[in-house]
């Protein structure tokens, strides 16, 4: 059994209009997505801003009111509030936020920030609690004197590590990392990511790693889902996605990864333009009449793509993927 099973998840925001302010339409932030997260893995959820990936993450951690569909954890549907309460769900599923400054209460000291989940879920004695907080700080590589400081006294990278420490405090099974490094300098990004990896190794935590940056995702994730306009367009292993992308949207994202090798800049630019041209020309092939992605079809045991079956097969064989 997977750690988390997301089935046909939908999150729609109503649009009210008209004289009586009735619901006349809805914004489909997340429109029927299905995937599983296994214990101990890092699952990447990738898409441009507005694709619904953050909403998905918030639904999984219980911050978002789900319109329909289910999220199973230990066989219980945690989209229902009472199930979350019964399970002490957030003890096991935690979150790291994108904006490290806004995610730490500026009026609280680091000790109180990190201890917050402990106080609600673990009820340790005062000394045990403080010890645990110190250990957590140590794990994310911060000095013990951080305990009594306030968030604004730290750099962005340090703050994000504090966010990581808070998320790890209750020793959860899954952490939703919502663009955890995209607000950081490149040099600091790697540092935070390495801490996250280290913690994963030592504590056996799974991540749902949400990002728009396929470069970072490649560094972190085993399995990846690509999200576009509220739907999944491609699911696969790192190998599938990076070496055999099938959907044009995935190809575009991949082409957008900055090339660090200066010598190949021209070639990179050419391939990016080629992908862009295909996208312009063949939109109708990859999206249905309403501009939405098709349902997913499986092309290999690990790899699915949102295309009509025939096209998917044809593309897959072009890419030279071995059919099951």
């Amino acid at each position: 059994m997977s750690l988390i099973e997301i089935k046909d998840l939908k999150v729609h925001y109503p649009i009210r209009s008209g004289f009586w302010n009735r619901v006349t339409d809805s914004v489909k932030a997340v429109d029927g997505i299905t995937f599983n997260i296994e214990a101990g893995e890092t699952y990447g959820l990738v898409g441009e801003s507005g694709s619904g990936k953050s909403t998905t993450g918030k639904s999984v951690v219980g911050l978002e009111k789900v319109t329909s569909g289910s999220i199973l954890y230990n066989g219980k549907d945690i989209t229902k509030k009472e199930n979350r309460r019964k399970l002490d769900y957030n003890r096991d599923v935690q979150m790291i936020f994108q904006d490290s400054l806004s995610s730490l209460n500026p009026r609280k000291r680091i000790e109180d920030i990190i201890a917050e989940p402990l106080r609600n879920f673990e009820h340790l004695s005062k000394d045990d609690e403080k010890l645990r907080v110190l250990q957590l700080l140590n794990i994310v590589g911060l000095d013990a004197d951080a305990l009594y400081k306030y968030p604004h006294q730290f750099s962005g990278g340090q703050r994000q590590r504090i966010g990581v420490a808070r998320a790890v405090a209750t020793n959860p099974k899954l952490i939703i990392a919502d663009e955890p490094v995209s607000a950081l300098d490149l040099s600091v990004q790697a540092q935070v990511l390495n801490f996250m990896k280290k913690i994963q190794r030592e504590f056996g935590i799974s991540y749902l790693f949400i990002s728009h940056d396929l470069g970072v995702v490649r560094h972190m994730c085993n399995n990846i889902a690509i999200m576009n306009r509220g739907r999944l367009v491609e699911i696969g292993t790192r190998e599938d996605i990076y070496n055999h992308p099938l959907h044009i949207y995935t190809k575009r994202l991949l082409a957008a990864i900055p090339e660090t090798n200066v010598n190949q800049r021209a070639a990179h630019r050419a391939s990016r333009l080629a992908v862009e041209k295909i996208y312009e020309d063949q939109q109708s092939k990859y999206y249905d009449e309403d501009g939405m992605a098709y349902p997913l079809v499986q092309v290999s045991p690990t790899h699915s793509v949102a295309l009509p079956e025939a096209i998917a097969k044809q593309l897959a064989s072009q890419e030279g993927e071995v059919q099951a």
Binding site: R16, S17, G18, F19, N21
Partner: protein
């Protein structure tokens, strides 16, 4: 646009109904009855009972309320027990005075606030700005009735520039003199009311002007060599015109609510003074009618402001 207004009005309906019930019950709950004092003090209790009965004051409250509402829709608010005349006529006689005073104050408010706001913003940090900010600070802090009392003392009594009581001089003859006298009487209370209600507009306009001064389009205009007088008139002032107009609704409700104080201090026969007098006489019918009217005026004032604002800022319309 029309939908917004219509919906606002629809929300107002239950508010008015609840207000009318509330007001009616509160007036009923006031101790004493209008008869005990008003007729012969030696009147026999049986006669008072009889009077209560024929006036329907012994019925259950909901029945009294219903009768009142039915009469209300016939334009009949009952009779004043104190003045022995229909409430509608009584109030109609006073409403004019109150509304004239309020409108006059409002016109003065704008006449004072607009130049002050622009001037202060234009000379930000310099002497005029400091003076005007001090002025807004003083008028904002000091309670209205204290301003009124000090005002009538200095300008009405000590300097003797203005009349201190009534709405028109009794020896005014012919309509020219009458109108003149009326105007003379509302001059001082009107000015004091205006001083009191300029604060918001001055502060808003000042900060608008300061913001606009540093905005790109004004800089562009300046660098193109547009004279600064024109910049203020055509670029900055015109932009903030509608939000400022929206203050009209709020300031008129403020002025109306202040009328109780204004009219008491100046013994000015308007609705506010009528209310204060009616309270002492337990004149239910007048009290209920006045509270209801002031509630409605409050609603209309805020509605006016909201409508103007919704023209300015479409985001408000969706809400």
């Amino acid at each position: 646009m029309w939908k917004t207004i219509l919906r606002r009005v629809m929300i107002m309906v239950p508010e008015v109904i609840i207000l009318s019930i509330l007001v009616f019950l509160l007036a009923k709950a006031m101790p004493g009855d209008p008869f005990t004092g008003s007729i012969n003090p030696k009147a026999d209790p049986a006669q008072i009972k009889h009077l209560m009965a024929i006036n329907g004051l012994n019925d259950p409250w909901y029945q009294q309320y219903w009768n009142w509402v039915v009469h209300l829709f016939h334009g009949n608010l009952g009779n004043s027990y104190q003045y022995q005349e229909p409430v509608t006529r009584l109030i109609a006689g006073r409403a004019g005075n109150t509304l004239w005073l309020a409108f006059f104050s409002m016109i003065l408010t704008y006449a004072l606030a607009l130049p002050m706001g622009v001037f202060a913003g234009r000379h930000e940090g310099k002497l005029p700005d400091v003076v005007i900010r001090f002025y807004t600070y003083v008028t904002y802090c000091i309670p209205f009735f204290v301003i009124l009392v000090l005002g009538i003392w200095i300008f009405g009594y000590v300097l003797g520039w203005f009349p201190t009581t009534g709405s028109v001089s009794s020896d005014a003859q012919g309509w020219v003199q009458t109108v003149g006298s009326h105007f003379y009487h509302i001059l001082l209370p009107g000015i004091l009311g205006a001083l009191f209600s300029t604060v918001n507009i001055v502060q808003y306009l000042r900060s608008e002007v300061i913001d606009a001064k540093h905005s790109d389009y004004v800089r562009t205009a300046r660098s193109k060599g547009v004279p600064s007088k024109d910049i203020y008139r055509h670029h900055i002032f015109r932009n903030s015109l509608l939000p400022i107009a929206a203050f009209a609704g709020y300031s008129i409700t403020g002025l109306l609510n202040g009328s109780i104080f204004t009219e008491t201090v100046f013994s000015y026969p308007g609705m506010g003074l009528l209310f204060v007098n009616s309270i002492s006489y337990r004149d239910y019918t007048v009290i209920t009618a006045l509270v209801l009217i002031f509630g409605l005026l409050n609603l209309l004032g805020t509605l006016l402001s909201d409508i103007i604002l919704s023209i300015v800022d479409p985001r408000i319309r969706i809400e």
